[in-house]
C-alpha cells in the first residue's frame, strides 16, 4: 500500500517536474525567436523539411476525407431531399473541425515524430553539446527555427487539407452522385462564415501547431541520450500530441462555438 502511494507520489513529482521544465524550455525557445529574423534561411530550411515534406500526406488524406464525407453526407441528406446542402455540410465539417484536427494529428505523426527523433539523436550523438562548446546556442540554432517552422506550417497545412477535402467532396458529390454544382458552391459560399468558421478553424490550427511542435521539440531535447530513449520519446510525442490536440479541440470548440 505504502509502496503504491510512494510510487504515485514519485510519478506525480516527476510529471510536474517535466511540466515545469517543458515550460522553461518554451520560454527559452521564445527568447530565441527574435534573432531568427536576421537569419531567416535557417527557418526556410526547416519549413521545407517540416512543412513541404508533409504536403503529400496532408493532401492525400484531405482528398480521401473529403470524398468520404461527401458520400456519407449525401446518404443522410438525400433522405430529407437536402442533398443540395452537401457543400455546406462538407465545408463546415472540414473548416471547423476535421481540417485543423486531422491535419494536426497527421502533422504530429509525420513531422512531430521526425523532429523528436532528429533532436534526440543530435543530443545522443553529442551534437548539441558540441554546438554549446562552439559557443553556438542550440536553443537558438536548432530548436527555435524548427519551432517557428512548425508554427508557420501547421495553419497552412490545415488550410490545404480543407481545400483539397472540399475538392474531393465536390468530385464525389457532383461527379459521382450528381449533386448540382451551382447549388453545391453557392450554398457553401453563403453559409460558410468568414469569421465564425474560417477564422476559428485557423485559430485552432495555430494552437495545434504551437502545441505539437513544442511537445515534439521538448521530447527530443529531453530524451534519454540512448537509442531506446529516443525511440520512447518519439512515441511519446505522437501520443501526447494526439491527447493534446483532441483535448484542446474540445476546449476551443466549447469556447468558440458554445455561445453562438
Amino acid at each position: 500500500m505504502i509502496g503504491i502511494i510512494r510510487s504515485l507520489g514519485r510519478w506525480g513529482l516527476s510529471t510536474f517536474e517535466r511540466l515545469g521544465r517543458g515550460h522553461l524550455f518554451l520560454v527559452q525557445i521564445l527568447a530565441g525567436i527574435p534573432g531568427l529574423f536576421l537569419r531567416f534561411s535557417l527557418v526556410i530550411q526547416q519549413l521545407f523539411s517540416v512543412g513541404v515534406l508533409s504536403v503529400l500526406i496532408i493532401a492525400v488524406s484531405g482528398l480521401f476525407v473529403g470524398m468520404v464525407l461527401s458520400l456519407q453526407g449525401y446518404y443522410v441528406l438525400v433522405d430529407f431531399g437536402a442533398e443540395e446542402s452537401l457543400g455546406v455540410m462538407v465545408s463546415l465539417s472540414l473548416v471547423r473541425e476535421l481540417g485543423p484536427v486531422v491535419s494536426a494529428l497527421l502533422f504530429a505523426g509525420r513531422a512531430g515524430s521526425a523532429l523528436t527523433a532528429e533532436v534526440g539523436l543530435m543530443k545522443s550523438t553529442e551534437q548539441l553539446s558540441g554546438m554549446e562548446m562552439m559557443a553556438v546556442d542550440p536553443m537558438r540554432r536548432v530548436i527555435a527555427p524548427r519551432f517557428l517552422a512548425g508554427f508557420i506550417s501547421m495553419p497552412l497545412l490545415a488550410a490545404m487539407f480543407s481545400a483539397v477535402g472540399i475538392i474531393g467532396a465536390f468530385l464525389v458529390g457532383h461527379g459521382l452522385l450528381g449533386v448540382d454544382d451551382g447549388a453545391f458552391w453557392s450554398q457553401m459560399q453563403a453559409k460558410t462564415d468568414w469569421y465564425d468558421d474560417i477564422l476559428n478553424g485557423v485559430i485552432k490550427s495555430i494552437v495545434f501547431g504551437f502545441v505539437v511542435t513544442w511537445i515534439a521539440l521538448y521530447e527530443g531535447y529531453d530524451a534519454l541520450p540512448t537509442s531506446e530513449g529516443v525511440g520512447r520519446a518519439t512515441t511519446r510525442t505522437v501520443v501526447h500530441s494526439a491527447f493534446a490536440i483532441l483535448g484542446l479541440d474540445f476546449v476551443l470548440t466549447a469556447l468558440m462555438f458554445g455561445e453562438g
Binding site: 553529442e126 558540441g130 562548446m133 553556438v136
Partner: protein, 267 residues
Amino acid sequence: MPLIKIRDLHFSRGDRVIFEGVNIDIHRGKITAIMGPSGTGKTTLLRLIGGQLHPDKGTIEVDGQNVHQLSHSGLYALRKRMGMLFQSGALLTDLTVFENVAFPLREHTDLPESMIRDLVLMKLQAVGLRCARDLMPNELSGGMARRVALARAVTLDPMMIMYDEPFTGQDPISMGTLVNLIHRMNDAMGLTSIVVSHDVDEATEIADYVYLLSGGKVVSEGSPVDLKRSSSQWVKQFMQGLPDGPVPFHYPGVDFKEDMLNPEVSP
C-alpha cells in the same frame, strides 16, 4: 597566473562521487596532460571547465573569470575562445566535412565565402583531410571523424583547446602527425592545450606537465620525467600499465566472490 585555476572541485553524479577536492593549474602556452583510468571523470572535468556541468563545490577560473558565475552571454563569449575536441567527434551529421569545419566561422564571423574556403582548406590540410571535404560524417572512419573535429576545434583560433582522447583510433602514422600537430599549434599559435589521454607514451611525449587523476583526487602531478621516475606504486602501475597494483581495474562495488556466491544479493 595560470590560464585555468581549479580549486577544491567537488562533483557527483547522483550518489557516485566523481571529484572530491581537486586542484589543478593549467599554465599558459603549455600542454598539460590529464591522465587516469577509464571512468575517473576526465571527460567530466573538461565539461566542467567548459561550463556544461556545474560543480557541487569549488571554483573553476578560466582567464580570471569564474566559469560558473558568468552570465549566459559571458559564458558563450568565453567559449568562443575555447576549443574542444569531443571524444566522439560530435560532428554535425547533416553537414559535409567542409561545412562542419566552416560552421564556427559561419556562426561567429561575417567573413566572405572565399576567405572561409581558404581557412577551412588550411585547417583540413593540416589534418590530412583536405580532399575528404565533400564527404558526409557517416562516410568517415572514427579516426577521420576525430581529425575533422580537431580541424573544427581550431577554426576560430581559440586561446586554448581541450582534447578529449585525440589519439584513440588513430593509426601510427596519423598518430604521429597528430602529436606533431598538437605540438606545433601549441608553439606556433601560442595556444594552451589540455590533452586527456590514456596513451601514456604519446601523452608524456607532448606534455609539459601531467596530472594523474583517480578516485576523485589528483594522485600525482609533475613533469613527465618526474612521473616516470616516481617511486609511488600507483604512478608506476599506471605509467607502465601493470595489471596488478593499487589502481582498481573494476568499477567500485561488491566483491566479485561475494557477488558470484550470493545471486540473491544483487540480480
